[in-house]
Amino acid sequence: MRLDTEIRDALFSFLLRIADDRLILGHRLSEWCGHGPILEEDIALTNISLDLLGQAEAYLKFAAEVEGKSRTEDDLAYFREVIDFKNCKLVELPKGDFAFTIARQFFFSQYCVLLCEKLQQSSLEQLAGISAKALKETTYHLRHSYQWMLRLGGGTEESRQRLQNAVDELWNYTGEMFLTDTIEQQLSAQNIIPSFVEISALWKENVARCFRESSITIPQTGFMHSGGRIGKHTEHLGHILSEMQILTRSFPKAKW
């Protein structure tokens, strides 16, 4: 693959962003294993977790090739520090109650469906291929969380209130998914990735429709958290990484 240095660096950073989103959220979701409110949900959330880890692996593998420094996807997952992770803050927040998990999954899956629909037309074949695959899986994820949004919103007063609380708490973290900066601009100018401004508008439309159907009020948009995309994270990421990385770091050549 021949890319000039500037584009290659931007692409590497972008791939880390989309891979780390999935790696961290996948890890968060795995915390529901054995703790789901009902058996079907235990299985659903961990299946989604597995899909996200698989997608993260594919994107990280591609990132490692793009970087060209003979690191592997495992090196990138297990031997980077907090500051090197480029996931948005939304995905690293603790799992909260079931309503919190569902609201976050809905926000994230809706974003991923819109992003992957565009990425599957990327001028880079490898990126397009991985994203076309991710799109198929994420469509099922979106259907899952969308249906739960409707059920929780239209269920009891308590379920609606818990969902509203979760939405209120998460809302200020959603803006970072659509962050536009030089990386996004450089890559979208080359048709490698889509314009995030366009995706953001579609996302807002779809989310507003779901909120109407779920009797959820759209929070006032004001301050939006950011920093994750440049490695400035909440206190929660370090805790996830220590749990995720300890085995490999203690026994670097462990295999089973």
Binding site: E40, I43, A44, E117, G129, K133
Partner: protein
């Protein structure tokens, strides 16, 4: 040894999670070719996180070595994207006989609408009086259903 012989060996490898289907009819094996003495097999994952893929890769190498292939190289490809539409009628029949309802044809609808899937028939009694319990089940590729006619839970191989 020809490419066809190699494909013959590969079609003896069964999917570890659905041991009535082989990896060639599932469409996991995309192509086989020779590079000098080396055999190159390209494969595509069914689901990104499918844990069976690692085992399938090991099985391919082992099977080909057993049958006298020297060097074997595996390449993972993502294009074209794996789809259940590649399963032919014979393969679907095998699934049904194994107790898994075979996949419907995919549509362009990305389920963004809250449409419920088409009526799925029970693999045991063929009734369409079935209900979806969850889009996720014992493996990534299946959904959980319940037959209201014969009162059996069963799995549906999701179209993707």
């Amino acid at each position: 040894m020809t490419e066809q012989t190699i494909l013959g060996y590969l079609s003896e490898i069964l999917d570890p999670e659905i041991p009535v289907l082989n990896i060639v009819e599932m469409g996991i094996v995309r192509s086989v070719f020779f590079e000098n003495e080396k055999v190159v097999v390209t494969i595509t994952p069914t689901y990104s996180g499918c844990p069976a893929m690692r085992m399938i890769e090991d099985n391919i190498v082992e099977k080909l070595k057993e049958n006298g292939c020297g060097e074997v190289e595996l390449k993972t490809v993502y294009t074209p994207t794996w789809t259940t539409d590649w399963l032919n009628e014979i393969t679907k029949k095998k699934l049904q006989q194994y107790g898994i309802s075979p996949p419907h044809t995919t549509s362009d609808n990305h389920f963004v609408e809250i449409t419920l899937p088409k009526k799925i028939s029970c693999p045991y009694c063929q009734s369409h009086q079935t209900s979806l319990k969850s889009d996720f089940s014992s493996t990534a590729c299946k959904a959980m259903y319940y037959c209201n006619a014969c009162l059996q839970p069963f799995e549906y191989f999701k179209e993707i």
